[in-house]
Structures are given as C-alpha cells and as structure tokens.
Symmetry: C2
Subunit: 230 residues, 2 copies
C-alpha cells in the first residue's frame, strides 16, 4: 500500500505537443504535415510536434517544434485540446497537448522551402495520418470555423496589408459559403477595426484600397462584448 501510494505520486507520463498549422492557398484551406522519420508510423504523414522538455511550457514546445519542423516563427498559436486516451500512442503512455496555428500567405512561402519532409495538404483531402492526428486535425478545423465567426483570427491568415476582397475571401473559404460583398463591407466598416493605408494594391482588375488590422480598437470592442457578426 505504501509502495503503491509512492508510485502513484511519482506516476510520470510523457507529454508531446502537436500543432495543426493552417494556411490559405489557391485551392482553399491547407494543413502542413510532415513525414515521420522514426517508428512508430515511420513514413506516415503526421502533425508537426514533439516531446515537451522539462524546462519548457507546452506552448514553448509547440513554438520550438514549429520552428524546427516547419520553419515558421512568430505565428498565431492557440491551445486546442489535450488528448490522453491511454492507447493513443503505441510507444506507451503519451499525452498530447494539441495546438493550432495560423500562418499568412507570405509566412507560408518560407515554410514550404524549409523542410523537404513537410508538405501542405487541402483540409478536405488529408492523407492517412499517424496516431489520432486525424481526429486532432478535424477538431482544429471545427474550432477554426467557430472562432472565425466571433473573433478576428481570420486576420492572421492575411499579410499585414490586405484588401477587403482578400479579407472577404478568407471568410468565404473557411466558412465554405459565399457572403454578400456589400453587407460584408458594411459590417467591417461598422466595427471600425481596419485602418486604411495611403496605398492601393491587388493583382488583377481595379486596384483596391489597402488596409491594416487595428488590434487596439478590437480590444475595446471585445471588452464591450461586441463580437464578429459573421
């Protein structure tokens, strides 16, 4: 009994982090996957991640893994859920703290070239994934869709300067439906979280006004309970 108690207090598990990294590309929302170089699931596609070291917090570990495995730094990162079914990892007892990250189009370019073993997949055509990573990816997508409707996470997928057309297309792509251009612009205008720049941009057609996101104003809205209306 004493021994058992002693053992229980010292019960130690291994803990990993795994991150679902989203970006937008031509054909919609994509997720970054890496090929596993070691057993188990050697050669399978998996979410980038790794073990949490005893000197770092899980979010530090996620950021480190993002840098090493995916070549991205300073991106939007949010904890998703902790998966801990006893049999989820054939190596033994491994619990994973899952995160999701959003990288903008320009950040995603760096990513692709960094790791040869990493590759972007459309969210609606993921390959077979190692461990329970498919469940994690599905859950992350659900969370992203939900959060898009009442927060400003969408801006994380755009470069610092963007047009209203680009912003609208972020929403349409992730939500999977068209939104009315005039209604969309009116609502954004009303929120007052965009600052117009002295600059125009756009690749085809008439050059569009460029904006930047004004997080400061958004914080005030949040405090008043005014949320995103999409």
């Amino acid at each position: 009994m004493y021994l058992r108690h002693y053992w229980r207090r010292r019960a130690a598990l291994r803990v990993t982090v795994d991150t679902v990294i989203f970006t937008l590309r031509e054909r919609g929302l994509h997720v970054l996957l890496v090929r596993r170089s070691g057993e188990p699931f050697k050669g399978s596609w998996a979410l980038p991640g790794g073990f949490v070291r005893s000197s770092e917090s899980p979010s530090d570990a996620a950021e480190r893994a993002l840098g090493v495995e995916a070549g991205v730094r300073g991106v939007y990162l949010e904890q998703l859920y902790t998966f801990g079914e006893p049999k989820r990892d054939p190596r033994g007892r491994v619990l994973t703290v899952a995160y999701y990250a959003l990288v903008s189009v320009d950040q995603a370019l760096a990513t692709g070239s960094h790791a040869a073993a990493a590759s972007w997949f459309p969210v609606d055509a993921l390959p077979q994934l190692a461990f329970d990573h498919r469940m994690i990816a599905d859950y992350a997508l659900e969370r992203l869709r939900n959060k898009l409707e009442y927060t400003t996470v969408g801006f994380q997928l755009l470069p610092a300067k963007f047009t209203l057309g680009q912003l609208q297309s972020v929403y349409e792509t992730i939500l999977g439906r068209a939104v009315d251009k005039r209604n969309f612009r009116r609502k954004i205008e009303l929120l007052g979280i965009l600052t117009p720049l002295e600059e125009r941009g756009g690749e085809r057609g008439r050059p569009a006004q460029l904006y930047r996101f004004s997080a400061r104003r958004f914080e005030k809205l949040k405090d008043k309970g005014i949320l995103f209306p999409f």
Copy 2:
C-alpha cells in the same frame, strides 16, 4: 549527444487534473474547494484533483477525483485548458489538465456532506488558492459564461424537472443581469427543446408548469447551426 537525445525522448512529466465544480445555491454561483492535507500549500484551499494514473485518461482521472474528493458522480464534465508553466508547482514539473464540472442543486447536496474538508464558496468571494488555481477558476468562470450563451450547459445546473422560472434564474445568476420574462419564455418556446410534464411544482406562489429538457431536439438544432440566443 546520444545521451541527451535519449534523455529527451524519455522526458517524463507528472500530470494532474484539477476540476472547477460549479453549482447554484441561494446566493448565486458557487465553486467547490478542498483543503489540502499535504505539502505544498498544506491547509490551503485548492481545486479538487489529483495525479493522472498511467492506465487512465485525464477525463477518467477527473471523474475519479470528483468521486473521491467531492463525492459526486455522473456530472457534466468538460475539459478547459492545460496549464503547464514550468514553475507552476513547487514540487517540480507538474502539468495540469483543467476541467470544469456542473452539478445540479440535488447533486450538490450529496457533495456537501461527503467530505468534511470540502466546502462551497461563492465565485465572487473565493479564498486564496494553492498553485495557480485562482487563474484556473477565473478561466472556468469566463468559459461557463460564454458557453451559456450558445449551448445548453445551463440545464446541467437544474434537476431533471424544473420550472421556467428556475431556468430563467440560472441564466440571470450566471450572466449577472436580469432578463425579460416574456422575451425569455418566448425564445425558449421557439427553440422547442423543452417538453412540458403532466405535473406542476414550485415552492412559493402559484404552482408552475414543470418541464424536462429534450436533448434529442437540441441536437437537431445544433446541426442546423441554430444556437442559444441569450
């Protein structure tokens, strides 16, 4: 280098679960706290919880701790967040998967009598808590308030049979503001998730119609994206 790699792969952390248990009592929303019987923070109030054993999932561990420390079983339990700052526990590296639970008035009665070292505190008058438990409790309250507005978690705080007055008071208590009785009833009616019973109840005044929550109908609403309008 080899040694270091070996060590890193085996890096093992201790993992606990901690649960913020909410209930409604006369003077509003309360949280169940227990007095710590061992070091560190011996004698301090803390959230009920314990170490995750290597054979169980974190949610199993949370349920077990709920039974042992608080005397409750079969309650609503939802994962909140995983806290893992390296210095959050003076014993060394301990990560905690935090949960929150909702217990109805009748379930809460059993709870009080079970553990002498457990006691309910109003959410707006918590004592000093061990570890980072204050942060966890604050976060749980925020999450509960948010979820109340777009899910049916509120029903978890009521007994199986309840009156519309009781339901309204759940919303008013947690949201901290009064809501219009007629508008409230109309919206609930519109959702169609309550089934009236052949029974009346209530403690004072005119006896009220009793209802039960019909989860089946709610699931259909969720699928259509129709959410709670409070």
